[in-house]
């Protein structure tokens, strides 16, 4: 198992390097001169040839491409992503708090998603075709097919304006977590519970279930075995949910004025603040590589057969 873990971690390195390279060349994909992009981001009203030359030298953009890439990558490994073009502040001082804020939202939501997905998935499979199953599936269909933005605005209108129970936006208190967390949870639990449900259903048709029942085990005990085996599928799904939610909070954060990664990334993209965009993409890529690796290692721990696949 430890050899498997070592190999799996080793494999993630080239993946991360490739992601970092594509992140670095982002600024060069713009049709504009990168230096002009910087000056536009700084809100300079008039760009002159002298200013372009001065800025190029200041930012070291006159050095060869690969020298710049290596120096940038080495700095990134030390969490030095350079300075924001717009604010001039170190990128990490902006990205760090935003990442923490989004992590808070993500992790609280993840707990709700896991609890709800497992609970609803098992209940739905347990009562397959009956009222509970049909109601849960219908409700999830309706809620997940509603546009997030619209559903969120509706929730603010009802819970904040009409009932005056919660704040409309911000992250001032525990109350401000409720609406964004519910919105994210509704989105993901509505999808993930189906995975749990189908996994439970397929396990219920396995021979071992028949054997358990034939041995006269109580139905509750049989179900516990089914759930334990079914959740192996869910482990990788829930692991990957962390980076997926981290990277997809734009709408929720925008709507609830949550000062997280989503808000920061959109503002940076609109302002073409490339150091922040690069850092954001790199951090997300790292999160995907990390959680993918963790998910593989966890799955291999649960199912030894998988260790031979690498």
């Amino acid at each position: 198992m430890s050899f498997y873990r070592f190999k799996r971690v080793l494999l993630s390195i080239p993946l991360f390097l490739a992601a970092s390279f594509f992140t670095f060349i982002l600024i060069h994909l713009s049709p504009m001169d990168p230096v002009e992009v910087v000056l536009h981001a700084q809100g300079v009203p008039k760009i002159t040839a002298e200013l372009i030359a001065q800025t190029k030298a200041e930012l070291g953009m006159d050095r060869p491409f690969f020298v710049r890439y290596v120096s940038w990558f080495v700095s990134c490994l030390q969490l030095d992503f350079g300075n924001s073009y717009v604010t001039g502040k170190p990128v990490w001082s902006l990205l760090g708090p935003a990442l923490l804020n989004t992590l808070k939202l993500t992790l609280v939501s993840l707990v709700a998603i896991i609890a709800l997905s497992i609970g609803l998935g098992v209940a739905s499979a347990w009562r397959e075709g009956r009222f509970v199953d049909r109601s849960v599936r219908s409700a999830s269909f309706v809620l997940t097919s509603m546009p997030t933005y619209w559903l969120g605005a509706l929730m603010i209108w009802f819970f904040s304006v009409k009932l005056d129970l919660l704040p409309t936006s911000g992250m001032d208190s525990f109350n401000s977590y409720l609406l964004p967390v519910v919105l994210i949870t509704v989105n993901y639990a509505g999808i993930y519970f189906r995975i749990v449900r189908s996994s439970v259903l397929s396990n219920m048709n396995e021979d071992y279930v028949l054997y358990c029942r034939a041995c006269g085990l109580p139905e509750k005990t049989v179900m516990m075995h089914v759930i334990r085996n079914s959740l192996q599928v869910a482990v990788s799904v829930f692991c990957m949910a962390v980076p997926i939610i981290l990277g997809s909070t734009v709408v929720v954060e925008n709507l609830f004025a949550w000062p997280g990664l989503g808000t920061l990334s959109v503002n940076s993209i609109l302002a073409r603040d490339f150091p922040i965009i690069q850092a954001y993409v790199l951090v997300l890529a790292a999160a995907f590589v990390l959680f993918n690796t963790v998910s593989d290692i966890l799955n291999a721990a649960l199912d030894p057969k998988l260790r031979n696949d690498l």
Partner: protein
């Protein structure tokens, strides 16, 4: 469930609870019940870096904290931090007599030395301020005595006082906030002399401004102003309904934070009032007269398009009457812009006859006109983030089609459009004038600038004459000569039909019903909060 899975989930729960427990304190006055006599305004963007000598900060916020030597008002330039001034006969030396007893928010005295250090700090970053011509003309700033300061220019420049009155960069920061005697690489604090003090700033969440009780012009009556970041217009509207914010105004980009329907709905609630300023800018289509391979190079084509723009319908249907139809590049309330120019009202017959006369012929209805085998087809670039520009573009496209003119619509980011404008890679694009206070001199100066409108203007018949007159107008010291030069300049670009006006934009304020003293400055980027009070 395996033991490992249980441990994994348990760890997640612990992490969540500990992170959730880390949430900070309460933000400013984000609770409706706390608003009382305070203003909490919604802003789509954070106030950002408040360094007054750079360009990333929120201008309304900077306007509360920092002040300039003089103020631009409807009646002309008036004293602010300078009580009076003299201008030498040759127009090259400006001597300012500073107001006494003024201090920065950190207690530092505002004196000639502070003015000198600030002006020099701005000039140390001269390249970035090249857009403001004064920055290229100041040769020295001398402190004559404690309260007298002198600016020496390389040549006479009539908009000097006007440019000194702008929100940035010639405003004053406490020298204690300088880093190594400079401000171009960041500052230590944000202490101005203005009516409000920045007391708290939580990036991307809110900023709190409290009344400067020792303000030289008397402490403002609204004691606390909070700028709350609300990126979504829907949330802003709901926050207004709930009372979490009670003040909204047009943002830095000239866009309204909430849409017209939302405003109507708030108005009907009876809790809010709406105040709209006089015209502040002109929204327009800029035509590239120097594009050799495009029909847009022909004056007749540009003129025909001008006649094909139904401004009244755009004003009524797209802007619900919140913007007024514009007939010329500058509204008549802009200095020197009250000039008699030929009107080109919406008239499709006239547009067609102009095209026919200049050889753009059409076989039948709905067919694109052709001249010498070239179809009458042009690209119109609009800001992809502006919903109103897209609607206007689609509407203009449909009317242009009726006269056999094909407009291909292309939505792009604003910076990409700015790049097209400076490289000349466009036929038509949406733009707007710099706005009151900056107009006409800044917009007109941009006619000769490659980074702005040089490609727009260089193809018109009298381009050389135009540039010559622009060169003369800024150094002209006689009012009558200046008036005449501006009239000539405006006539040349109007006849060339390169700036096709659409509407005049204004600043809109949504405020509590009992808030009095809502007025506007001679700029769309600031509001005089210090004049407001609750009844």
């Amino acid at each position: 469930m395996s033991r490992k899975t249980v441990i994994f989930i348990a760890l997640l729960i612990i992490a969540c609870l500990s992170l959730a427990g880390c949430s900070g304190g309460k933000a400013g006055s984000a609770d409706g019940a706390d608003l009382g006599q305070e203003l909490t305004y919604a802003t789509a963007k954070d106030i950002n870096d408040m360094n007054p000598h750079l360009y990333t900060g929120s201008m309304p916020a900077q306007g509360m904290v920092y002040e300039s030597l003089v103020e631009n008002t409807k009646e002309g330039i008036k004293p602010l931090l300078a009580e009076s001034w003299d201008i030498s006969e040759d127009g090259k030396v400006y001597r300012f007599y500073l107001r006494k007893g003024v201090t920065f928010h950190d207690g530092e005295p505002f004196n000639a030395e502070a003015v000198k250090r600030n002006i020099e700090a701005v000039l140390q970053n001269r390249e970035k301020h090249a857009w403001i011509k004064l920055s290229t003309m100041i040769t020295s700033c001398n402190a004559i005595d404690e309260h007298t300061v002198e600016l020496v220019l390389s040549e006479p420049y009539y908009p000097t006082l006007l440019e000194l009155s702008m929100t940035r960069p010639f405003v004053f920061l406490s020298p204690k906030d300088f880093v190594g005697g400079e401000t171009k690489n960041g500052v230590n604090g944000h202490h101005g002399t203005g009516p409000y003090v920045l007391t708290e700033h939580k990036a991307e969440q809110y900023a709190v401004f409290e009344a400067n009780e020792s303000y030289w012009n008397g402490a403002p009556r609204v004691k606390k102003i909070t700028a709350k970041v609300l990126p979504a217009g829907e949330t802003t509207y709901l926050a207004l309904l709930k009372g979490e914010v009670n003040f909204v105004f047009t943002d830095d980009r000239g866009a309204d934070s909430i849409d017209v329907e939302a405003m109507d709905s708030l108005a009907s609630s009876g809790d809010f009032q709406f105040v709209r300023s006089e015209p502040m800018n002109t929204k327009m289509i800029v035509a590239n007269s120097s594009k050799a391979d495009s029909p847009v190079k022909e004056t007749a084509v540009r003129e025909a398009l001008w006649y094909a723009v139904d401004r009244d319908t755009i004003s009524e249907r797209i802007f619900n009457g919140t913007e007024t139809a514009a007939d010329t590049l500058f509204a008549s309330n802009v200095n020197y812009a009250n000039v008699e120019l030929q009107r080109r009202d919406f008239d499709l017959d006239m547009a067609e006859s102009i095209l026919e006369r200049s050889g753009w012929l059409s076989g039948s209805d709905d067919e694109v006109r052709v001249k010498d085998g070239i179809p009458l087809s042009m690209s119109l670039y609009y800001d992809v983030n502006s919903s109103s520009q897209k609607s206007q573009a689609e509407f203009i496209q449909s009317t242009a089609k009726q006269i056999g003119m094909q407009l291909e619509l292309v939505g792009e980011e604003s910076s990409s459009i700015a790049n097209r404008r400076s490289t000349g890679d466009y036929d038509l694009l949406f733009n707007q004038t710099w706005g009151l206070a900056y107009d006409p001199q800044s917009t007109i100066a941009a006619f000769t600038s490659e980074a702005s409108y040089l490609h727009t203007t260089s193809g018109i018949a009298k381009a050389e004459e135009l540039y010559e007159k622009i060169g003369q107008v800024t150094v002209s010291t006689e009012e009558a000569a200046r008036k005449s030069l501006y009239a000539d300049i405006l006539t040349i670009v109007h006849d060339g039909a390169v700036f096709i006006p659409i509407t005049n934009g204004s600043v809109t304020v949504v405020a509590p019903k009992n808030l009095q003293g809502i007025t506007f400055k001679q700029t769309q980027f600031e509001l005089p909060f210090e004049n407001m009070y609750f009844e």
